[in-house]
């Protein structure tokens, strides 16, 4: 088992390395360059060339990649081209904000969707199953900004229960922070619940038709015990995988939501970076997002191995 786990971790690191190359290559291919973006339309070719020289953009791409990558390995994400500030320092508080919002949403979404998924599975075909299915399907079928605006219209404009802008400061009280970010968190919850709910429902249903579940009922066990103890552990691996995927989405996919609620997270920072052709910022954000994705998926893989005795324990039978 130990070898299996090590393999997963090494694979994760390799993926991250491959992605760092992709990110660098992709930002290289962006149309336009930072010099013309910063200096504007009126800049003469001479000033542009001088500016590029100053930034080191004249050197070959692979040398700049190696410099960048060794920097990253030492915890140096570089300096923003536009405002000359250290990127790590700018990203840290924003990353904290993004994680806060994602964590908040996950805390609501994961228990709700797994719980509802199990309920829907054991009441297959009954009203609770249908309602859960229809509502969850409806929420993923409409665009995310639409849900956000509907919530703002109802809860912020009409009833004034929540603020429409999720502005947070570093020294804000925790409870105020929760209150301010309630609407974006609910929006995100609605977005990710459907996927997790449906996966939980179908994994549990697939397990419920197994002979060992029939055996558990014939042993005279209470229904709740059959589901929690006999069905769930075997349905866990696919559920964990889909939860990891959705947690990653909560961190990476929030750009639109951050813009709608003017929330100072990573997404906004990255969008800013793209519009200003600030390559180091875009690369740094991309790398952070990719890391979040890979780390979460690696954790899901490892948990998937740990919950399966056939992978956890070596076969000693014949």
């Amino acid at each position: 088992m130990f070898r299996l786990l090590i393999t997963r971790v090494v694979l994760g690191l390799l993926t991250l390395f491959a992605i760092s190359i992709l990110i660098f290559a992709a930002t290289e291919m962006l149309p336009g360059d930072v010099a013309s973006a910063v200096l504007g339309q009126g800049a003469t070719p001479e000033t542009l060339a001088a500016f590029r020289l100053e930034l080191g953009l004249d050197r070959p791409a692979y040398i700049r990649y190696l410099e960048w990558f060794t920097g990253v390995l030492q915890g140096d994400l570089g300096v923003s081209l536009t405002n000359k500030r250290d990127i790590l320092e700018s990203i840290a508080p924003r990353f904290g904000n993004t994680m806060f919002l994602a964590g908040f949403a996950a805390l609501i979404a994961v228990p709700v969707s797994v719980g509802l998924g199990i309920l829907a599975a054991i009441n297959e075909g009954k009203w609770i199953d249908r309602v859960a299915n229809i509502v969850s399907l409806a929420t993923i079928s409409v665009p995310e900004f639409f849900i956000a605006y509907v919530l703002i219209l109802y809860f912020a404009v009409k009833h004034r229960w929540f603020p429409s802008l999720a502005t947070v400061f570093p020294d804000m009280a925790f409870s105020t922070k929760l209150y301010v970010t309630a609407l974006p968190a609910i929006t995100l919850t609605l977005l990710v619940t459907a996927h997790m709910l449906r996966m939980t429902r179908s994994s549990v249903l697939a397990i419920m038709s197994q002979p060992y579940i029939e055996m558990a009922f014939l042993k005279g066990l209470p229904r709740a015990r059959v589901i929690m103890r006999h069905a769930l552990p075997n349905a866990a691996a696919p559920i964990i995988a889909v939860i990891a995927l959705n947690l990653a989405y909560l961190i990476v996919g929030v750009v639109v939501i951050e813009v709608v609620f003017v929330y100072p997270g990573m997404g906004q920072y990255m969008v800013d970076g793209v519009t200003k052709r600030d390559l180091p910022v875009v690369q740094a954000c991309g790398l952070v997002f990719a890391s979040a994705f890979i780390i979460l998926n690696t954790i899901a893989d490892i948990l998937g191995i740990l919950v399966n005795p056939r992978l956890r324990k070596r076969n000693t039978g014949h």
């Binding site: 038709s209 197994q210 002979p211 060992y212 029939e214 055996m215 558990a216 009922f217 014939l218 042993k219 005279g220 066990l221 209470p222 015990r225 103890r229 006999h230 552990p233 075997n234 919950v307 399966n308 005795p309 056939r310 324990k313 076969n315 000693t316 039978g317 014949h318």
Partner: protein, 537 residues
């Protein structure tokens, strides 16, 4: 108090679509009595067994009748009351222990679960009791056996562990649902002896469900024969075996008896070999499944390969067809060497050897019509025109005994036996000289299987086909094989004319294998066990 621990009156079970699965069946069990329920698939035996626990599978409903356990109608109980009786008063032993144990929990947890959940024992008491059961059921290292997960023990051990689980609450009634069908014959005999012991020692009543008369004869006091959900006949075991009253019972009995005798008309005329396998080895990854095997099949000959699961007999079929590439040795067909991998074989080489599989359900494409399924090889190998193909399909359907108008249908609507006939027709469509049959009848009911064997024999006489027949069923081998090879752990340990293999002097393994096949007399199991004891003494 009534004297019957289980009494079922006028049981009726229907499918949700209204089909009657069990029709007006009544039975009764005294303490310590074993009733065998026998019949072919679809006879409703398992449905009755589950109904005795007031349990209906998805899509079924118990619509009428009484199920009295110690005088209490379990059907009239509420959910809580039913739950309390299940496991505690009446327990279930399923066909496949591998599927009936939860892969996520240790065996100990699952065996202890029932007494703990029914509030009969504390955790420590249950654990001690489980170890006691493991010891009395002859499981290895009973102290630690329970700490293993189901995938870490063998099939026979798991089946015994399931027996331990079933009797953990000391129930009055046990329902055995084909509990030895999935086991090899040599394992079956041990498990069967153990069940007999359990029933006797704990004085439990039992319903023993099986399709094999010889098996049920060893353990039951009375036998009920079922067909299409109705009772055909009920009598003592002796009476059913010796003087069956109903024609259907008589057919089952004589069919099962036929398997005990070697067919007389088997003559061996050795032509030059069609297929010759010499010193072949093959492996899956680093695991060698065929270890230097040599075998030959002559024209018009049937060669049987017998062995238990894991002996490498199916791998041999895959190796000969080139699905599993051999690592050394030669395979020649009519003196010409065949490439190890089927991808490198010529169309002609492929056409000459065809394969029939164990499960026709899986081997036939459910989206294709029967005409397409059978016509495809005719077009592929011989480039027949659509009109010619249609003619050929009709001819083949007649040959395998199916109506010509089946060509337009989908195979999904057919029965298992009919599907296997389609599979045979598809193999014939290529005009093969050798057909490899991989357990073609083991998924079929006795009487249907017999029809398929007769068809294969008829085709052999008409077309001069050769068969390499892979099976674990020694009864079939005796009836159809000219020559037999016995496989054990990837090697052929005995090979020769069938009559010779099945008569002394035996190879020790062959003898053990033969001795393990249940015979149609009630004292067979006792005899075999007594003989074994003598030997070890």
């Amino acid at each position: 108090m009534t004297e019957h621990v289980l009494k079922i009156n006028n049981l009726r079970v229907e499918s949700v679509s209204g089909l009657v699965l069990v029709d007006n069946v009544s039975l009764e069990l005294k303490k310590g009595e074993v009733l065998g329920l026998i019949g072919e698939s679809g006879a409703g035996k398992s449905t009755i067994g589950l109904s005795a626990m007031s349990y209906a599978r998805a899509g079924c409903r118990i619509t009428g009748g009484e199920v009295l356990i110690n005088g209490t109608d379990i059907r009239k109980q509420d959910a809580e009351g039913r739950r309390d009786m299940r496991g505690k008063r009446i327990a279930y032993i399923a066909q496949s222990a591998a599927a009936s144990f939860n892969p996520s929990h240790t065996i100990m947890d699952q065996v202890c679960e029932m007494p703990i959940q029914h509030g009969l024992m504390s955790k420590d008491e249950a654990r001690k009791w489980a170890i006691e059961l493991f010891t009395s059921l002859g499981l290895p290292n009973p102290q630690t056996f329970g700490d293993r997960y189901p995938h870490q023990v063998s099939g026979g051990q798991l089946q015994r562990a399931m027996a331990a689980m079933a009797i953990s609450c000391r129930p009055d009634i046990l329902v055995f649902d084909e509990p030895t069908t999935a086991l090899d014959v040599t394992t079956q005999i041990e498990v069967l002896a153990l069940f007999k012991k359990v029933v006797k020692e704990y004085n439990t009543a039992a319903l023993y469900i099986t399709h094999d008369l010889a098996v049920v004869a060893q353990i039951s006091d009375r036998i009920m024969v079922l067909r299409h959900g109705k009772m055909v006949e009920l009598g003592t075991t002796e009476q059913i075996l010796q003087q069956p009253k109903e024609a259907y019972t008589a057919a089952l009995v004589s069919e099962r008896k036929a398997a005990d005798h070697i067919a007389e008309d088997v003559k061996v005329e050795h032509n030059e070999p069609l297929l010759e396998v010499k010193d072949v080895r093959a492996s899956y990854g680093s695991f060698e499944v065929i270890k230097g095997v040599s075998i030959a099949v002559a024209k018009g000959e049937t060669v049987a390969v017998v062995g238990e699961s894991g002996s490498g007999k199916s791998s041999m079929a895959r190796m000969i067809t080139g699905l599993l590439a051999r690592t050394s040795g030669t395979v020649t067909f009519k003196g010409k060497e065949l490439a190890p991998n089927y991808k490198h074989r010529s169309r002609e080489d492929l056409q000459r050897i065809q394969l029939i599989y164990q499960l026709p359900d899986v081997a036939l494409n459910p989206r294709q019509t029967i005409g397409e399924i059978i016509g495809r090889p005719a077009q592929f190998y011989f480039g027949m025109s659509p009109a010619k193909t249609k003619e050929r399909v009709a001819e083949l359907l007649t040959q395998v005994g199916l109506p010509v108008d089946y060509a337009g249908r989908l195979s999904t609507a057919l029965s298992g036996g009919q599907k296997q006939r389609i599979a045979i027709a598809r193999a014939l469509a290529a005009n093969p000289e050798l057909i490899i049959c991989d357990e073609p009848t083991s998924a079929l009911d006795q009487l249907v299987a017999d029809e398929i064997l007769k068809l294969l024999k008829k085709l052999q006489d008409e077309l001069g086909l050769s068969y390499l027949f892979i099976t674990h069923d020694l009864g079939i081998v005796r009836r159809i094989a000219h020559r037999t090879a016995v496989m054990l752990r990837g090697e052929i340990i005995a090979q020769g004319p069938t009559a010779q293999i099945f008569n002394p002097p035996f190879h020790p393994y062959t003898e053990n294998l033969l001795a393990s096949v249940p015979e149609m007399r009630t004292d067979w199991l006792t005899d075999v066990l007594a003989k074994r004891q003598q030997k070890t003494a």
